[in-house]
Subunit: 344 residues, 2 copies
DNA sequence: TTGTACGCGTTATCAT
DNA sequence: ATGATAACGCGTACAA
């Protein structure tokens, strides 16, 4: 014991006058343990300041006390928010978070993830959209026996493996809001085709217009890919139209900010000349001028909940955390929306 | 071997007809090895698809193949950028990144970090500002024999432990730019007192004015704490002055964006009525309207370099990565700066 | 240059 | 309810 300075399970066992295994049982909260023995061992543990060696446990248990965050995401703020939620969930536990960005486009992506999971033997992984939409990734996890939870804009998996929002519903609400204000020429800046979230948001957009009996010419839909630059180009395309749309729904905040940017660049006033609604409620939405109406996506809560789902069987029945799987998004009203100008 | 399906070092040794130790030497690139033996073992490794078990290595070596990122940072974008740099550095290595936010204000902070390092036995840690300015944290690392690299706005430690920028110099340049345009009533939105970066930026600000012979009334300095909200309050204080400043330097982009926000809220035009310069060159600086002149802080490069410094003795002489310790920031000219209005 | 025996600190098996 | 002993997979003396 004196060699490294750190007490081991052997030291605890010797001093407490029990076997290693008994100490191990105390650590792992084994139910079949005499109360007195447990108390005695715990006293020694406290006295020695003994802390189990995680590397040794990992070797014996064949898994680490680590959670993985797998993502391939264009939106830094979103990744940060998810991280914040996860870290909140594992605060004061022995778990840590390891971040693993991957390249969705790479042909070796699945093999890379598999190698990563095999090597690190994580307790479980959280998978962010858009790569969370790839079912083959979930297959790899199942194959390797790695717990996983996917995050997404709609349910893609069983509740224990999924934390989802209801993108299309809330977009219907957002567009209805524009319609109720008198808008009828409403443009959409869509997200990239491969993204389920992009499809869901577009679906909600089209549904709202259709339910209101408004015809949607193809020209009012401009494709973007969730980046600011693509939003700029898409907004320019929309604003070059004649007549111009009086309102634009952008599929994320970044592109909504770009729309505002494009409008101001050509001297238009927002919301007087153009109403804009974004999606995500990232920091930029409330920081730009005018503050932007957007959809709040409860991403921090989703991250926390996803982590708790992953840890559910670790906590056991103690907490019985029945984490929800659906997190409704909500429309945040700010200053980028107004009725259309008379006669426009 | 057939039990878990995964080949171990023993399998490789048996099939290659050598001892475990020899295989171990191959894995660890031991120089004293017969070339033939090495080739033979490597062939078996490839054939079996053998991958060393990191948990077992961690136990034997007493350290993991993990890098830690310790931070207590108000700026999400900055943390993301550092992460991006680090992850770029460890891509294609066996290292992974584990993220550890801490509470700078907590009285148990040092003890928490110590416990974290003792438990995880990381290969090394990167420490972000502002907590990187705390020398006691470095002491803890030294004490535990954990490699560390600190990031900061000025050199705080030996080169092998430090990656720094030159905040005060570049702020001098930024303010000189304003002065050369004819500004003389220039306001400062300072960062929080505890931050070295805040002090450095303020130092540069005061130095530039002093060198130009411009007197700086105390009222032209408003305190902020790097958040958008604090920037809003500080900007309002400055803009309530009479006469008003014709230009404002904000110690980070978040507060610069808030300054723009505050100016527009009261109907002012930027840059016509007010020039603004920020610091960080985060995404918001180029996304808002008008695009904001700011200081580009090469944070991604710094993150990458910091990680490479940490891994220097792992790579050994192979790469001999003499990573730089100083990363000069540069002024990015955009559209939020113009000469003051005549007569103002 | 290569092999043997043992240590790293924990959990699992199977007794009692 | 508790203990002796064998894994877990790899690295290191030290010997050969």
């Amino acid at each position: 014991m004196e060699k490294t300075g750190k007490p081991t399970i052997n030291d605890v066992a010797r001093i407490a006058g029990v076997s290693k295994k008994t100490v191990s049982r105390v650590i792992n909260r084994s139910p079949l343990l005499n109360q007195d023995t447990r108390a005695r061992v715990e006293a020694v543990i406290a006295e020695l300041g003994y802390v189990p060696n995680v590397q040794a446990r990992a070797l014996a248990l064949r898994h680490n006390f680590l959670l993985g965050l797998i993502h391939d995401n264009p939106n830094a703020q979103m990744v940060m928010n998810v991280q914040a939620g996860i870290l909140e969930a594992i605060r004061d536990t022995e778990f840590e978070l390891i971040v693993r960005p991957i390249d969705r486009g790479s042909s070796t992506m699945l093999a890379d993830v598999r190698a990563f999971l095999e090597r690190q033997r994580l307790y479980g992984v959280l998978i962010l959209p858009p790569v969370s939409e790839n079912d083959m990734l979930a297959d790899v996890c199942n194959d390797l026996g790695t717990r996983y939870v996917r995050m997404g804009s709609t349910a893609l998996d069983a509740p224990e493996h999924m934390v989802a929002s209801n993108d299309s519903d809330v977009v219907v609400e957002a567009v209805n809001h524009l319609i109720s204000l008198g808008h009828s020429r409403i443009g959409l800046i869509a997200g990239p085709h491969g993204f389920r979230s992009a499809r869901e948001r577009r679906k909600g957009f089209e549904q709202a217009l259709s339910e209101a009996g408004i015809k949607l010419p193809r020209s009012l839909i401009a494709d973007g890919n969730y980046t600011f630059e693509s939003g700029l180009a898409a907004a320019d395309r929309l604003l070059d139209l004649s007549p111009r749309p009086t309102a634009i729904f952008a599929s994320n905040d970044e592109m909504a900010a770009a729309t505002l940017h494009a409008a101001r660049r050509r001297g238009m006033s927002v919301p007087e000349d153009l109403s804009i609604i974004g999606f995500d409620d990232t920091a930029i939405a409330s920081h730009i001028w005018p503050p932007m109406t957007t959809v709040h996506w409860p991403i921090i809560s989703m991250g926390r909940s996803a982590a708790l789902k992953l840890l559910a069987d670790f906590f056991g029945d103690d907490q019985a955390v029945e984490e929800p799987s659906l997190f409704p998004s909500t429309l945040i009203h700010r200053a980028s929306v107004a009725p259309p100008r008379a006669g426009s």
